[in-house]
Structure formats: C-alpha cells, structure tokens
Point group: C2
Chain length 374, copies 2
C-alpha cells in the first residue's frame, strides 16, 4: 500500500453515526476536519474572495484546477513562482483535479485514445495533450497536496456497455497515475470510482481501485444530470466497498441538501461551484432554503441574511443593500454573496460534524430537509 | 455666517508650507485629516471593496453620488433603511455630490432652466427633476455629512460669455441651496466655484460664494479636459480668494502628480475615480509611476507591488499573480488593484501631510515628480 510509505498523509476516523463518518485528513499543510467542503478555486482564485476571507469561513482546503492552470498561467510558471499556494496566497492544503472533466466539458476538438487525450485549449485553440502521467506531473508542479488521477467521466445517461468500456480505461489510467506519482511525505493521491449509475460497475470500480491502492477514493461521474435517487443509490453501493481508513470524496456535489444526503451515506469530502457561482448570480443559501436576492421583495428589507452569523457578509449588510448591489451590477454583491454562501456551506459541514459526534445526524438531516423545502 | 450656527462642523488649520495647508475637518462623524483623498462610492459602494478594506487604507471620508442614488435605489428608500452610512456599512463621514455633473454627463434628454434641470434617467428613461432645493433634500435624505450645492458645470472649452452666464446661474443656485439646507450640528454645506479657466470669473465666483457663506468651498468645472497648466492657473487665482478657515475641495482630480500640484496650491480635499477605475483596468499607481499589470513583462514577476506596504493587496500577491488574474478576467484582480490604488493614494496624502508639517513639501514634490516620470 502506498500509504505505508507516507505516514504524514493519513485519515483518522474519529466517530461514526450510521454510515456517516466524522474524521480528519492529515496532510503536510495541516488537517482537514471531515465531513469537509472544499471551495472551488478554478484558476487560482476562489472567484471574488480573498484567501483571508475564505479562511475566515472555516475552509481548511481549496480545490484547484489542473486543466485551467496548465493552460493559464501554465504549471511550470506556477512552479517557478513557488507553487500554487504561494501564487494564490493560501498556505493550507489544496486538492487539484486532474483536468479530465474539463477536457470533456470545456475544451474544443479532442481525441481520446488509450494513452490520454489530445485537445485544443478553450482559451487560444492551442493543442495540448494530457496523459495519466502528465496530469500527475502538472499537479505536482502546482504542488497539490492531494492529486487526482486522470479519469474519463462518461456523460449521463451512459449505457452499461459504454460505462464499462470507459471504466476499464479509467482503471488502466488509475494504475498509470499511481506509477507516475512521487509519494512525498504529506502528499496524497486519490483514485476515482466511475461506472455511471450502474451498481455492479460502481462496486467493481471501487474494488479494483482499492486493489491498486490510494490515499483516498473519489466518486466521479455524478452530479452530471442524474436524479438524486440514482446518485444516492450509487453512493450506497460504493461506500461499503471502500476501506474505512481512507477518505471518500464525492466530486462536484452539490446543493446543501445533497451534501447532507451524501454525508448520511458515508462521504467525507465535497467540492462544488454552487456556493460561489450562485453567489455571483444573486442566490444565497440559508438554513431556510435558497433566497434569490434580486427578487423585488427584498428591495426594502433592512434585515441581513443572518444577524447571528460571525461572517461579516451575512451579518453586516441588509438584504435591501445586497438587492441594490445586484440591481446596480456592483461587483461587491458577488463578493458578499459568495462569502456568505461559502460560510454557510462551512456552517453546514460544522453542524454535521457535531451531529455525527453526538449521534444525532438522522434528526439533524430531518430538520434540515424540512426547513430547506419549507 | 452659517458656521456660527454649527460649531460641530469646522476646519482647523494646523500648519502651512507655502500655499499648502495641513488641517483637519471636524464633522459629526469624525475628523478628516487634510490634505485628504475621498474614495468614490458612486452607487453606495467603492467598487469592489468592502468598507473594512477602504477603512484599512486610512480613508476617513467617502464620496457618494446623489444622482445615482436618487435614481437607484432612491433617496427615500435609503433614508428608510437608516441613511447611506447604515446602508453601505460605513460609519465615517460621507460627502455627496449634488447630481449636477452626472445629469450633464450621464442623463439622456435634459432641459436646463433657471430653476433646475429636468432629465431622463440613464437607467430606465424615467423623467426626474433636480433643483437646488431638491438636490439638498436628496442629500439630506442620504444623510450626507457634507452636502454640495447644485451647480452647472460648463464643458471645456467654454468661452468667457458662456462661462459667465453659467456662473451666474450657479451662484443663484448656490444661494437657493443654502436657503434649503438644514444646518444640523456636525453637517456642512459646500459651495462650488465655477468660471471655467477664466481667471477673472474664478476669482469673482470665489468672492461671491464667500459672501453667501459656506462651510467649505469646492472648485468645480476642472478635470474636464483642460491642460494641467490651465488648471493650476485657475487654482492659483482661486485659493487666495477663499477664507483660510474653510476647507477647499478640488472636485474630480486626479492623477497622483495632479494631487501634489494642487496641494502645493492650497487644496485640502480631493475625490477621483482614477484609483478605483484604473484598478479595474489593471493599472497600479506606485511611487515609481503607473504600472500596467496586463503587460507581458509581469507574467513571471514574483515581486509584489510593494513588499513594505501594510496593505495586503500591495504586499501579499506577486505581480505575476495580478497579471494572471487580469488575463483570466478574475474579479479578484479588480479588488486587489483597487485596494492597492486607494491605499497608495492614502499613503501619498499621508506623506504630503507629513511634508507640510515639517516644511518639506517643495522637496517632496520635486522628488515625487522625478520618480513619477522616471
């Protein structure tokens, strides 16, 4: 097992509550209390926020994006400037995704073969090639604390045959990624479970990845349009096939209630663009559901989003002011709602960690569900 | 004199150096050390910055905009929400301009008459009317600490006859503005000197305004395209005609060197969109001149804009990172450069205050000029 060579990167399971887990990922750049949410810093910035503001939300780890950063400003350039942490002024852990998902969703003309993918940059049309080894290399140049293997993420829906074919490729690439990874102390490599929404493939994918051996296991190919029930079913067959002493990361999920349902099914780590992207669109997540601040009913509302919050964005600005900022196209509106949303996500994760510790997650989830839809 | 009724709003002249003045404007919401720069918060926000960040630059007073705020969200609405200070989360003094300048520069279809101006909103085309009295009323609804009289700002160039005609109107409006102003303790009303670049009109304007009597005197109608030499000449004939015990405010000026040259000619207060607007365009002001961060030569520059600064934006991010943010269209670039620029402007004002106190402004200005053009 790779982990035997790397005791500085490990997962401590502190408590369980049903399938839910309260844990801590130890990395060379500090711990991550789980269940944890990773704000997305695609191009070396959590859009609209200073890293001090991100830190103030309680975020312990950020997500960076190998695809975006290799195209601009370039992984070698980031390395020469001291790595992604120095570049973006964030000294905590960073997880980078491999670039596979973005090649499929953003890049122009692309050609997939057994060894990797050739594609044209969505920025300038230049040709690039990404292989399992080169993706790991890019992520090591960025100095990612957690490197993700290159995978193929099939679309939804994807029939069993195609999902199986894709999964075989992904598993071969997982082995090559591991072969390319330099196991420095404190740094981890995560495999990615694929298999669409086919239970047998999900389970097989998990088992074969565990045979290869990684520091953690991600669930990819979800949050791509499938119904929540199918996603939850996929989680339920996958997490039991994963080792208890490794963190489990559900990629790209999701809305607040999605996070709760995934934590109930044994997920430890999340990333999602929703709190940041929705913040730029005037949508605030709250304990009582999502609130569209551009709605005229907030025009004269003197109340802040949460007067009891320790987040300035939630506490110190009225909904009327936030409404005004969005109506006037003022960028401060983006910043304030992004900050509020990331802070809310971290409050939610903290509440779930406490609920698991005290064996009350089921009640918490029921209450949360009622308030979110109410 | 209006000031006799309002001892809580006053100007203390602390030191002089040639024509330059080191002073302090006392307002009901705190003091303003002069020479002072007021960041522009047009629509209830200094674009891209939290008020905490603005405060951290050393800014003691902000400028708000009656025209923008009366159109959106509406002065009555701001008043109902507790005034502009509560609305935008800024507890220091605010100066609002009267709206006259924006009616001329932004509004559609407008008709000027002896009593005011009728115009169509640039936002939704609705008709509005602004008179000297209604402008004062709007600014009082906003709860401005310093209210500006409604004036007519002639374009540049403007011949003597037209400048004189415009000036007569402005002076009649100044009296009406004063008649409409409620002299609450701690709140001030400023008159505006016009007269184009015609020395006799500038001087006459100043004298006639002083006869009416205001808490402070602004110089309007400059920074509208005239050469710096003509602007400086206008300052030189105007400031001697203004009382020593009232603050002098040069509206809309300017670049760092413009500020130095105006301080040398006895100006105390400034506002300008340049540090904020240029920040959004990738231009940083520094002791060694303006720096265009989008330039390719900064792509690999690991140095921050100012490693010795106490402003995080100037100190904690490399030029390469700032370059990247602008190339990637990331809004954090706006925030960081705006923050840096406002902080630099405040450093410059602080340095001038110290230079005046120690009788060294002439040397300071010479050094500054050399470095700016070098």
């Amino acid at each position: 097992m790779i982990v035997a060579d790397n005791p500085d990167f490990r997962f401590a399971l502190l408590a369980t509550d049903g399938a839910a887990r309260r844990g801590r990922v130890h990395t060379g750049r500090g711990p991550i209390d789980t269940p944890a949410f990773m704000p997305v810093g695609t191009a070396g910035t959590v859009k609209g926020l200073l890293t001090d503001q991100v830190r103030a939300t309680g975020s312990q780890i950020l997500l960076g994006n190998a695809y975006h950063l290799m195209l601009r400003p370039g992984a070698e350039r980031v390395a020469a400037l001291g790595g992604l942490h120095a570049f973006m002024n964030w000294d905590g852990p960073i997880l980078t995704d491999s670039g596979g998902y973005q090649v499929l969703s953003l890049a122009g003309l692309r050609r997939l073969d057994d060894d990797g993918v050739t594609f044209r940059s969505h920025i300038d049309g230049a040709y690039h090639r990404l292989t399992p080894a080169s993706s790991v290399e890019v992520q090591e140049l960025l100095d990612a604390d957690i490197t993700m293997v290159l995978d193929e993420c099939p679309p939804y829906p994807c029939d069993h045959d195609n999902a199986e074919r894709s999964l075989d490729l992904t598993l071969r690439w997982a082995q090559r990624s591991k072969d390319a990874f330099h196991g420095r102390p404190g740094f981890g490599l995560f495999g990615i479970v694929q298999g669409g929404v086919h239970p047998d493939l999900r389970e097989a994918s998990a088992r074969r990845l565990v045979d290869i051996g990684f520091h953690g296991y991600a669930l990819g190919g979800l949050a791509v349009g499938e119904p929540a029930a199918e996603r939850n079913a996929a989680l339920e067959v996958t997490t039991p096939a994963l080792p208890a002493d490794r963190p489990r990361y559900l990629m790209g999920v999701g809305k607040p209630l999605d996070l709760v349902e995934a934590v109930e099914r044994g997920i430890d780590l999340f990333d999602c663009v929703l709190p940041t992207r929705s913040g730029r669109r005037g949508l605030a997540y709250t304990w009582d559901g999502a609130v569209k601040l551009t709605n005229a009913r907030f025009r004269d509302d003197p109340e802040p989003l949460d007067p009891t919050s320790d987040c300035p964005a939630s506490r110190d600005y009225s909904k009327a002011y936030l409404h005004h900022l969005f109506k006037a196209g003022e960028v401060l509106g983006w910043t304030l709602l992004t900050w509020h949303n990331v802070h809310f996500y971290q409050q939610l994760m903290g509440a779930m960690r406490t609920a698991i510790e005290t064996g009350r997650l089921k009640d918490f989830a029921a209450d949360f569900r009622n308030r979110q839809v109410g």
